[in-house]
């Protein structure tokens, strides 16, 4: 069963085709890695999947429903972590958690504590004053506490120190391993994708240049080399 299906998915901003005719399928329980340089369209694609943007053309189906006009029940089955800061800066971390929890019937406080608690999280600090590491942790806790079936992560490891990155990957492994949830993860760190993804989509200029199993896509090369080859060929 495919949890995500898109066909010729396109999103245009003015003259820019941020996502250009993207067709992909993500089977339930698998991890799709989006790999691409800055401006490749990874964030826009994730926003379209999350339902935060409407497509200009093409079709998109997430959890068996079209993304536009998604019912609240569907929102509750998705966890989305954006790259930019979007949580209200004037709330404290604790308020942010309480506020978000109030929208969900399912809320795993133990998991939230596990995600936040390990590092003496400054719960009374305003969101705007949180460090990158703490902010990411809060975002992840908010995105995962309701046990979503689909997790969408936009560059979650960028700006994290090695310990923070390792913790985050461990968390994700726990989620995939325990509940068999489906993940779409963007990163410019090839190693993250190689470690975490079942399939990889290499993106450039809004287009998906190749899509397939990580092993099949890279063949006997490193994934890094494969990625560079695709992008260079495209830019020539």
């Amino acid at each position: 069963m495919n949890l995500i299906e898109t066909r010729d998915l396109t999103r245009v901003f003015g003259k820019l085709r941020a996502v250009d005719s993207a067709t992909l399928e993500v089977p339930a329980g698998t991890v799709l890695g989006l790999l691409g340089p800055n401006g490749a369209g990874k964030s826009t694609l994730l926003k379209l999947l999350a339902g935060h943007l409407r497509p200009t053309s093409g079709s998109i189906s997430v959890l068996g429903a079209p993304a536009a006009g998604r019912a609240p029940e569907l929102w509750r089955r998705i966890g989305y972590v954006a790259q930019e800061r979007y949580l209200p800066g004037w709330m404290t971390a604790a308020e942010c958690l309480r506020f978000t929890a109030s929208f969900h019937q399912q809320w795993d406080s133990a998991k939230v504590e596990r995600i936040m608690g390990r590092h003496d999280f400054p719960l009374q600090t305003h969101v705007r004053d949180l460090s990158r590491g703490h902010y990411v942790r809060l975002q992840i806790a908010l995105a995962l506490a309701h046990d979503p079936e689909l997790i969408l992560l936009d560059e979650p490891t960028s700006g994290l120190d090695p310990t923070g990155r390792h913790d985050l990957l461990e968390l994700l492994i726990e989620e995939i391993g325990r509940r068999g949830c489906t993940v779409v993860l963007s990163s410019h760190m090839v190693e993250d994708i190689e470690r975490m993804a079942d399939t990889v989509a290499i993106m450039e200029g809004g287009r998906i240049l190749t899509l397939g199993g990580v092993d099949a896509v890279k063949g006997t090369n490193s994934l890094e080399q494969t990625f560079l080859d695709y992008v260079n060929r495209r830019q020539e």
Binding site: E170, I173, I176, R195, G219, N221
Partner: protein, 123 residues
Amino acid sequence: MRDGVPIYLQIVEQVKRNVALGRLKPEEGLPSVRQLALDLTINPNTVARAYLELEHQGVIYKRQGQGTFVSSQAAEASRRERHKMVSALFEKAVIEAVNSGMTGREIEETYHQLLRRYGLEEG
């Protein structure tokens, strides 16, 4: 991680190697998929795929609700692999000896000395 070799195959090779070397014994339990995924920081689906492949090859087997174990046939198969490995080492030693100008008799004598040292000479 090595380039160009799928991660799941690297796990398959590692497990087989450790069985062949006797570091993993028959009926010994392997870490759970989740645990190994955490230890290696890789997708649990990849570990599950490696375990499935090892199961197909008869190296490991699942016991319902108890986990994954090294099969006893694996030990036999791996002993054969190990014997092959040892013969190869012997061959290397013989080639080295010939290249150093040792005679067949000298090589044989060295070999018997070793057997005596470890109390293995029969008769």
